[in-house]
């Protein structure tokens, strides 16, 4: 049975199908972002146009500001989410205590409940503490869906981590910071990397939360994108989507390199 399977599933075909599935939609987005008068049944656009790209580069579109906002917020959210998740993950992975399952459940609750409920409920809560309409409030709000993912991935890293290594390093005379730098962090680095990617991409794609809690004062890329997506201007939507995908493409490329090297 396994022999037959091995013969029939040529890995090259699988790779080819997978690459097509990834690249075809991207290729379509690129073509669409330059297309003009592209209608069924034409296979390729009859005319090309810079309309979408020149609009996005125009400061009047607000895309450059939105891009910067998205980037700064996502980076800060990533750093904060990991700092918050590290102690929680360590505690859950390395210690047994009463109510551990309850703590885990509470930590995961924000991603188990529907996003719209978290967003609207979060908005009500943030309003009560006067925490709306600012950068800080948007960053705090983005932590709600990101921290659970970071806790999950980092718990996995700590489960595979042998704490005795820390003690050994200490007996060999390493200082606490040296232990952190040369023992603990290298062991959990892949976990930190994965949770950073998660946190960044989740923050990067927040729409309703950013809009409600930022009050529209903090305009990020999804806020600009959704307007065009809903209005049906496919050319501008395609160009914006490509910009929106840049971090994902970078992360995929980095991961691929990481795999090749290791």
């Amino acid at each position: 049975m396994s022999v037959i399977l091995k013969k029939t599933t040529n890995p090259r075909i699988a790779v080819a199908i997978f690459s097509l599935a990834v690249t075809l939609p991207l290729a379509w987005l690129i073509v669409q972002s330059f297309a003009r008068n592209w209608r069924f049944p034409a296979l390729f656009p009859p005319e090309s146009s810079w309309r979408a790209w020149s609009y996005l580069l125009d400061s009047a579109s607000g895309v450059s500001t939105a891009l910067l906002n998205s980037l700064v917020i996502a980076l800060l959210v990533t750093i904060l989410a990991i700092c918050l998740a590290l102690p929680a993950a360590r505690g859950i992975a390395l210690h047994d205590f009463k109510g551990k399952n309850l703590v885990l459940f509470l930590l995961l609750l924000p991603i188990l409940s529907p996003a719209i409920a978290t967003a609207i409920g979060g908005h009500a809560l943030f309003l009560r503490y006067g925490l709306t309409d600012s950068y800080l409030s948007v960053i705090l709000a983005h932590l709600i869906p990101t921290v659970p993912y970071c806790v999950l991935t980092l718990t996995g890293s700590f489960l595979r981590f042998d704490v005795n290594l820390e003690a050994q390093a200490r007996t060999l005379g390493a200082s606490a910071t040296q232990v952190l730098r040369f023992v603990t962090l290298p062991s959990i680095a892949p976990g930190i990397g994965v949770s950073a990617v998660f946190a960044f991409l989740i923050s990067w794609s927040q729409y309703l939360t950013t809009w409600l809690i930022g009050g529209g004062k903090i305009v990020t890329l999804p806020l600009v994108l959704v307007g065009f997506q809903r209005s049906g201007d496919e050319t501008v939507t395609a160009a914006l989507t490509l910009i929106f995908l840049i971090p994902t493409i970078i992360f995929v490329a980095l991961t691929a390199r990481f795999w090749r090297e290791n």
């Binding site: 297309a35 209608r39 309309r51 609009y55 125009d58 579109s61 700092c83 918050l84 309003l127 049906g232």
Partner: protein, 413 residues
């Protein structure tokens, strides 16, 4: 141990950040209210607004319109009133309403992030019912005189009472492609015949989509004896007209695109079907929509629009101020400027919208400027639009029709 401590330290810093953010400084300047507006003269308002920033929440899905507001409109406001216009882009106006509802229940009565909103219809009704609006202001704006009196009375059957100011005019039109046929059917009866003679070539947007719903109201008016009868809700009239409407819709259903088993969900989807030559008609609540689509290269240049002989529904859309606006004086000045002939003429020039004013209120120079405005090839003439303009129905009809359509047409196999 150190590792844990340093992490605890980091999290403590974080906690301090949160706490410091919570202690928002509260300003104790008394709020400028609609009562103050009634007592003030306009000059005082303009002085008060000078040097401020106005956050304008508007639907932002159109490249030309965004560009016009971010550049031309913002520059004019800066130059004339030293006001900074900041656009808060919306994917859907309902989002700003749910934000305000949340803020209302949390008693955030000041320092709101939005000073003015482009609004109409159901969103206005929700806002009015939820007391989400700043107050009666429209009659105090100098430029209200350019609008016909009925423009400020009712918005989809909800009485306005000065809570929002009329801004732009919209009218339902249908689009067809002259490259496919020369003459479109201009009555509901002829449209019905056309649909039966051309199976698979017509569809309409499923209510409760705004545009799908307005299409149905034209059929309701047709079978109910005209728009005038539908200004206040009458159960008997509704039942009679709706029965005929649904009979008509079920009769044409098997001849619709995909045999009426499925309907497009939005203007966007109907547009795509029309542009891709899968159906022969598109429609929208906006007389210049086909011209805009041709300009964007989505429709072929041979597309034209038409209205029904019995008329098409038209209304205004409005500008309003939310209850917790931080800068109501600034919003009033911007709204008043947006209602001026100067702004409206420029807007028609830049984005091809329809001129909304009562032309009798204009001076000779303004009349001349309006008469010389360019008009997109696919936009009907002002005279033809006005001649075929019919009013909206009471919103009760709208709700009933949307609800019953689902049961009597969509789920009727």
């Amino acid at each position: 141990m150190m590792i844990k401590n340093s992490l605890i330290f980091l999290n403590l810093i974080f906690l301090c950040l949160v706490i410091s953010a919570c202690q928002n400084s509260k300003t104790n300047v008394p709020k400028f209210t609609a009562e103050d507006l009634a007592k003030a003269n306009w000059q005082q308002i303009e002085t008060k607004a000078r040097g401020t920033t106005v956050n304008f929440a508007m639907w932002a899905g159109d490249e030309n319109r965004n560009r016009f507001f971010q550049t031309n409109a913002a520059a004019a406001l800066k130059q004339k009133y030293e006001i900074n216009l900041n656009i808060v882009p919306l994917g859907d106006t309902a989002e700003v309403i749910s934000k305000l509802l949340n803020e209302k229940s949390a008693e955030k009565n000041e320092n709101g992030s939005v000073d003015m909103i482009w609004i109409n219809g159901e969103n206005f009704r929700t806002a009015k019912q939820g007391n989400l609006l700043w107050g009666k202001f429209a009659e105090h704006l100098p430029n209200i005189r350019y609008y016909a009196a009925e423009a400020g009375r009712r918005d989809f059957g909800t009485t306005i009472e000065g809570l929002e100011a009329p801004w732009q005019r919209a009218q339902f039109v249908l689009a067809y492609d002259t490259a496919r046929f020369a003459e479109p059917p201009r009555t509901i009866e002829k449209l019905g015949e056309w649909i039966k003679a051309h199976p698979n070539r017509f569809t309409y947007i499923a209510p409760p989509d705004f545009t799908g719903s307005v299409f149905l109201r034209h059929i309701l008016f047709h079978f109910g004896g005209g728009a005038e009868k539908f200004q206040t809700f009458d159960e008997e009239l509704y039942k009679e007209a709706a029965t005929k409407t649904f009979a008509f819709l079920n009769e044409i259903k098997p001849y619709l695109w995909r045999k009426g088993e499925t309907f497009p969900n939005s203007t966007k989807e109907l547009d795509r079907l029309f542009a891709n030559n899968e159906v022969d008609f598109s429609f929208a609540y906006g007389a210049s929509f086909a011209t805009e689509r041709i300009g964007r290269g989505e429709y072929p240049p041979t597309v034209r629009t038409f209205v029904f002989d019995s008329g098409t529904i038209g209304n205004y859309n409005f500008l309003t101020i939310p209850f917790n606006a931080d800068n109501p004086a600034g919003a009033l000045v911007v709204i008043n400027y947006f209602m001026s002939p100067e702004f409206q003429i420029e807007q028609v020039r830049q984005i091809g919208s329809v001129y909304p004013h009562n032309l009798d209120a204009l001076n000779d120079a303004e009349k001349k400027a309006v008469a010389e405005l360019p008009r997109g090839a696919a936009t009907l003439s002002e005279a033809e639009l006005l001649e075929h303009l019919i009013p909206e129905a009471d919103s009760e009809y709208l709700e009933r029709l949307e609800k019953d359509w689902r049961e009597k047409v969509l789920l009727n196999f």
